[in-house]
Symmetry: D2
């Protein structure tokens, strides 16, 4: 057929596999969200509707891609951890990353009216996200990655909470508030909040302080359904060796049926990984 | 700051630059659009509303990213050609590809109600796209790439037009129509269309036969504005050397102001490249 | 300076870093060694001089590059394991691999006359090697990699030993010997060797059965020198955290002074890794 | 077979193809040649024996790999240009680069005694080289690449010639000579050479001023053999389309038989590319 003369260009596509048997995180970031959040008048320092929309979009991504075992989001970013042995799209990086980004974008755009019913999107200012995959070898690195994001969340939220208190309640200008906070450490900001504005930072909402941890809650499911006597939660990880193909298929069904929950909990300490969701990073 | 302990994970991100000074095409493809188009009841063999929406989304991408010099779309795919020397996002592949995919997805989702006012999107079936960048060294390869896509468009459209005529007008079953077309060449299909259904394939709409060619029409603009005596259209290519920084900045403004048009014209022959839009692949 | 006009081409070099914090193996293979070994009349099925030369070249590589913690060689190939956190050449793949290949080639060529004094190299048939780096995330994968190579050594040696016995002692032709072995399993070959030729494969030299395991013997060194009371051998791994910079520098000196030994021992079972050289893959 | 349990590690090797249909240069550099040249007492500022050995090693590489169409060497480096459409080793970068490096190293080591008969190599100081592949899209970039290297050769040689004249003939110390040349331009150095030492730089040997250009001289061959009436030299490029498979095979044989010459000529101007060796970068 005449096509063959040109079809050679198809072979110019270069392979881009992610390293086999390695963890990887796909992180997406809002593009120009400073401007975007201003345009749609997001509440400062945190907009609860915007966070709920972010979580709804992340949940849509995780429902589509069962090999994502954990999500963590804050502000206009979300990180998705894939299980180590996933063979999704033959581990082709661009296919995986664009699918995450597109699914997230479609859901965010589609769900917008539910979260901002009185502020319709306009064509000139649509929500868009870029993304990248980052490969990690060890559980320690994965733990450290999510600790990095959660510490970042805390630092930014403490700063922003104090900054906006100085302006909104203290009547300071933007510049003065910035100058006031320059060089301060966490303790200073806590002190400002408490002594000047009567705010105990510890009592701020967990969603702002801890960010958003999205995962399949196998506990609920496993409790709800009939659970084999000997099944341990930490074994419900598809990267592990199963006693049989059948056992693996069963686990897969169970995982896909599990509810995807979003919690605002600590993921730096061991408790989350060992007790709350021990199947996410199971021992090999 | 406490963060530093974890921040090392940031350095795990590997560089992914596209080869400097090379052309590249970002092609996006609808995910699961067979099912998607069925669900939303797209007309067969071609849905004009869906194509117009596709073009509207592509136009939104090209308005956002002025370094895209050409788009070509058909069915549920679109290819975007970037100019050779673009320094967009330092040529990082994942950043470029995800930005294209996300901008396309957001526009497609947002504009949907304008093109399908009576068929609202549902959360379980949102439009999503994957994407990839492919690098090409020469103008010949770029010409061949777009020829490949346009020949593909023709082959598929002739097949689909005949196939649906056999079913819709000829009353054949899906299986029978498939069997009837098995092993036929283009001339056979033309003959079936003409003799059985009185359809002259040449008179079919150009948008179905040729697909969709999106580009900035510098002619219109240049004619509309005051044009320097000595400016040649084939020089309006930002990859070329300009006489001065000022001349380049002028050209850039002009290009950004140009209307983005979508035409249904031949891009296999020379005419498009030499006469209609000679600035797209200018000589070096 | 006039140079600047052309110097831009320097920036066309693309980065090729190996994944940070991952193990990697550089494996080199003799190019055309079937022909090469014939030309220089290597003994069949194994040439002891050739193996000794191979080990000498590998030792030269490991002396040059202290971040190689293990080598394994057989026939005309050698695998070199780098410690996980090495920052050698900023982990640039091509720089690392070419340095290994070049150092190996130079040593092999230079040392040749010591091992084959009566068969001088000729210009038309020089020993050359290609190489590649392969990244692995886990200790298990590293163990499996070396098990793979040692099992391969065993399989090939059993086959070759039987094959050459059939020809050299049994008077079979090449083709007949091949046919005789077709479809046989290990037990069959052991049986042939024993019943037809009185050879007990278990009594064959370890160097042929197990291949060549090259590593720094810290035991010798540590025993020879004054050893801090509390130093454990499994802590002598530069990837581990040291109590101080000074402790690390001390360890580094000790490692560089250690004798590089080549042993013909099992590396599939745990003993080698846990008892003989516990510092090679220390716990993190 | 027992092997299968470990063999999965084989699939960890990631693909590393060089961009199809692009030129690429493999450049090798001597490792630690400052120390190396001191140890073996190379003449300063240029050692003719060392350059001749470098050229002999490069010639050995080009004889092995007929798809190298040009070499350029100076000091302890050599650049090898591969023809654009080569399918050598499926264009796997590491295989190509290590083969070049290993072949070069083996030849350099083996041929050493011919060029330095009274200065035998010692095991502690063997010649080694690293290497890398760099991809280029256009003939212009290839021309600029080699211009870059040849300008570099000129700059360094003028500096070194003057520097050593100041020391060897002018009796200056290393430090004083360095200070004397600090901030000088080419004209200054020419003047120093001429007025202080009666040296006309233009009369220096071409090999030092221009470096070493290695290529297959098809002229000699084509003249020597019976040449088809209509064969043009600029058509003797295997990347071009040939009238038939037979014509291509003939050209290939001719190219492989051609003598590899090393000349010390200008490769910045057009003459070399258009007149002396028009087949190296033929029009597409």
């Amino acid at each position: 057929m005449a096509n063959s003369r040109y079809e050679y260009v198809r072979n110019r596509e270069l392979p881009d596999p992610l390293l086999p048997n390695a963890y990887f995180v796909v992180r997406i970031d809002g593009r120009g969200f400073h401007k975007f959040s201003k345009h749609y008048d997001f509440a400062k320092p945190n907009d609860l509707n915007a966070l709920n929309l972010l979580n709804a979009a992340a949940t849509a991504v995780m429902r589509q891609l069962p090999d994502i075992v954990l999500g963590y989001g804050v502000s206009d970013e979300y990180s998705f951890l894939f299980r180590r042995r996933t063979e999704l799209f033959d581990r082709r990086a661009s296919k995986i990353v664009t699918t995450v980004v597109s699914t997230f974008t479609a859901a965010y755009t589609f769900l917008w009216p539910q979260y901002f019913p009185d502020r319709p999107l306009v064509a000139e200012m649509l929500p868009t996200f870029d993304g990248r995959a980052v490969v990690y070898c060890t559980k320690k690195e994965i733990r450290d990655y999510f600790s990095w994001r959660q510490v970042d969340c805390h630092i930014n939220n403490l700063y922003n909470t104090t900054f906006h208190a100085l302006m909104d309640k203290g009547g300071m200008s933007n510049t003065d508030a910035e100058a006031r906070l320059s060089g301060t450490v966490a303790a200073d900001k806590n002190e400002i909040l408490f002594s000047q504005f009567g705010i105990n930072y510890n009592n701020e909402p967990e969603i702002f302080k801890k960010g958003n941890v999205a995962f399949r809650d196998l506990k609920k499911l496993v409790e709800g359904e009939e659970q084999p006597e000997n099944l341990k939660l930490e074994d419900m990880n598809l990267d592990k060796e199963f006693s049989s193909k059948n056992a693996k298929a069963k686990a897969r069904r169970r995982i896909q049926k599990a509810e995807i929950v979003v919690q605002h909990v600590d993921i730096i300490q061991d408790y989350f990984w060992n007790e709350r969701a021990p199947w996410i990073l199971a021992d090999e």
